[in-house]
Symmetry: C2
Subunit: 81 residues, 2 copies
């Protein structure tokens, strides 16, 4: 039983509308922030966990390989979720 955290971000250069919205909103509120990018996190436990299995899940279902990249990290099983 292994727990994994997948972080999915849009590739550099791909328009990140939510990120722009956050950036403009914070700027309007007086916070100086730059280059805001918004992504997704998916934490999951695999009973017979393999990192390769998680990568397959990401490539086929969780992310869009055309416009997104993802990183997989193993986390302590008690930490997630």
């Amino acid at each position: 039983m292994r727990a994994f955290r997948v972080t999915i971000m849009l590739k550099p250069g791909v328009l990140d509308a939510p990120g722009q919205a956050v950036e403009r909103g914070l700027d309007a509120l007086g916070y100086r922030v730059e280059q805001v990018r918004v992504g997704k996190v998916v934490e999951m436990i695999l009973p017979e966990g393999e990192r390769a299995g998680v990568d397959e899940i990401c490539a086929r279902f969780l992310a869009n390989p055309l416009i997104e990249t993802w990183t997989i990290e193993e986390i302590p099983a008690g930490a997630a979720p």
Copy 2:
């Protein structure tokens, strides 16, 4: 100039409908996964970066402190976004 990554997750016990959808979807596809939780990541650069400033932004605007928790990590400025 410092770059930060904020990871926002629903608190334990708060219903995570997207997480359940992912879990059921993957299960239907034959992947055995458990306890899937979906969250958000926001990467940003603060020109005069302070971790306290990021925490304030999270508590006031990016997250809902009633139902969400967040972690802030500093990342290499070149890494994000």
